[in-house]
């Protein structure tokens, strides 16, 4: 048994592995050899998976669990955490409806709850607009480009380039363009319109749309490239057969191409959803969500509160809420969309 003991981590499970690998174990001396091989195997598994598992548990799982723990405390991140005051769900209550203390409710609603809902609203507005604007636009572009014409490979590469640029570079670039004295203002003057008086990113109605425009510029390349990749998988004879039968260009797209790249579209939609909820870098570069948070997102709000105003408990509560929203979206997506995909497959199989 000494050999088993030295195998360390694998010890407890080594027996399991033995059982599963050998099935109903024959009680013969052969097992001795097998067992040695099994110990070796578990040693190898530990060696191979171990480093990744340790890194993952230490730097991903542990911080996430810590965030959940901090969210129940009032803590500034500087003092010892053991001195932090446990306040139960108060941080969550503050974010959602201004807290449970009736005396402070009014103040906390304006201080905590309103900015939270505003930021969350922006996230959901971006989700909605991505589906309503980016999706049709990207689809239309991909469908138009889905054919041979001179220079097509370069066009593809160029339109994808913004996606690979860092958010910071794209953000700073657009910050210069939308500077109150910048080229966007000049452009508005030159076509005889008035640019927003307080500046593009400060104007309460314009700011959010400008940011959405910038986000679209940055991310639409991914949608186009994914859709084009999907379209290249649609057999050409299908489209040819349809057009020989007199189907118009639109009919071919609507009846053949779009349905056939359905799975790609749905996966893009999922990525876009999750990305919209966790949106941070770009918005942070664009003046950290705006001076009055006119286009803040839940992630920029979290950073502002948690890190820069040292309310780590509250910031962590926001992080946990963000996690639950992403999680709910992921589950809903699996339930609704993947079930549809599966029933499609079943229908096709029949």
């Amino acid at each position: 048994m000494t050999a088993l003991e030295t195998s360390g981590v694998g010890q407890g499970s080594a027996v399991d592995a033995n059982a599963s690998a050998a099935g109903p174990r024959p009680v013969t001396p052969v097992t001795n050899h097998k067992r040695r091989d099994n110990i070796r195997k578990w040693g190898e598994i530990t060696l191979f998976v171990g480093p990744a598992l340790v890194l993952f548990l230490t730097f991903v799982v542990y911080p996430v669990i810590s965030a959940a723990r901090y969210s129940f405390y009032k803590w500034n991140g500087v003092s010892q955490f053991s001195d932090a005051e446990f306040i139960g769900f108060e941080n969550y209550a503050r974010a959602l409806f201004g807290g449970t203390d009736p005396d402070l409710k009014q103040a906390f609603t304006t201080q905590y709850s309103q900015p939270f809902w505003e930021a969350l609203g922006h996230n959901f507005a971006i989700i909605g607009l991505s589906m309503a604007v980016q999706l049709p636009l990207a689809l239309l572009i991909a469908l138009t480009l889905n054919r041979k014409f001179p220079g097509r490979p370069s066009v593809r590469v160029i339109m994808f380039a913004p996606y690979v640029l860092s958010e910071v570079i794209a953000g700073v670039m657009w910050l210069i363009i939308f500077d109150p004295n910048g080229i966007a203002t000049d452009f508005m003057h030159s076509i005889g319109l008035n640019p927003p008086a307080g500046g593009w990113l400060e104007d309460q109605t314009w700011a959010f749309w400008v940011v959405f425009f910038i986000i679209t510029w940055k991310y639409i390349g991914l949608a186009i490239i994914l859709f084009l990749a999907g379209l290249s998988g649609v057999p050409e004879d299908l489209q040819e057969a349809a057009s020989i039968d007199g189907a118009s260009w639109w009919q071919v797209q609507w009846r053949i191409n779009i349905p056939l790249i359905g799975p790609t579209i749905r996966i893009w939609a999922f990525l876009s959803l999750i990305g919209s909820i966790q949106l941070f870098d770009m918005v942070w570069v664009l003046n950290q969500g705006g001076t009055t948070g006119q286009y803040s997102t839940i992630a920029t709000y979290m950073m502002q509160i948690g890190f820069f105003r040292s309310d780590w408990g509250y910031g962590s509560a926001i992080a946990v809420i963000m996690f639950f929203i992403s999680f709910a979206v992921a589950v809903a997506y699996m339930l609704v969309v993947l079930r549809n995909d599966n029933t499609d497959r079943i229908r096709k199989a029949r």
Binding site: D16, A17, S20, A21, K41, I45, F48, V49, A52, L55, F56, T58, F59, V60, V61, Y62, P63, V64, G77, I141, T144, L145, R147, F149, P150, G151, R152, V155, A161, P162, V164, L165, S166, E167, V168, I169, M173, W174, I176, I177, N181, I183, W217, L222, I225, L226, S243, I244, G246, I267, W268, Q278, D281, W284, M303, S316, A319, M322, F323, S326
Partner: protein, 279 residues
Amino acid sequence: MRSVKPRKFDKSVYLSVGVALVGVALTLGPILYLVLGGFKTQGDLAENPTGFPNPFQWQNYWTILSEPLFWRQLLNSTVVALATTFGVVLFGTMAAYPLARYKFRGREFFFVVFTTGLMFPLTVAVLPLYLLLRDMGISGLWGLVIPQIAFGLPVTIIILRPFLKALPMELEEAAAMDGVSRVGFFWRMLLPLAKPGMVTVGVLAFIGSWNAYLLPLLLLTGDPTGMTLPLGVTTFQGQHSSATTMIMAYTSLAMIPALVFFLFMERRIVDGLTGAVKG
């Protein structure tokens, strides 16, 4: 009887080309404006925002390139991205190997543990992660590399496992016949065969690290020479807020490595993304 139509799509090529041109103009226009702006004087930018630089001056670019700051940040970004890529690919492939090709109880469980990582974005974990790194005394560039490897692992393992699984099982048997151990098999046969998959995940990890902003924002405060390029750009922007053309030059220069890398790796990146998406 219907006559065979001449190919009806012919004329609409113009439509495609038109859409392509508009798309290219909207994509490149702002970038071109930025790059050209770097060649302008501050006064020229105000008077003549859209035109060609007049006078055309190298001053801004030269000032930046002749000082060590930009080069230091470029070096920092490169080191961090390379170290992250190396770690992600090495540990990811190592972990994916038994998860793909060993039979053992708990295999699916371990795989699921890693996949849950997809639900934990850096944004959710970043505040406690900052504290953890502070308590562990990990600072500077290592503070970026280690968590970036950890956060890169889930997607790497998810992409690589099916890839490794698809390699024929006879390989192991043949290797075993020749007396090669499973570990020897991993180093001598699996790694060379898995190269395409490893390049794909490596490219994704490299881009992720190169563009990273949130973690550097928390960790690399203070001395600009210790920063990576994205943080360097925003810091430069904050310090030179009145010299717009300088910011334009700095941002343009910071853009070049990513664009060059992208041009060389375009196929890989697209394959990686579409592959990752298809799962």
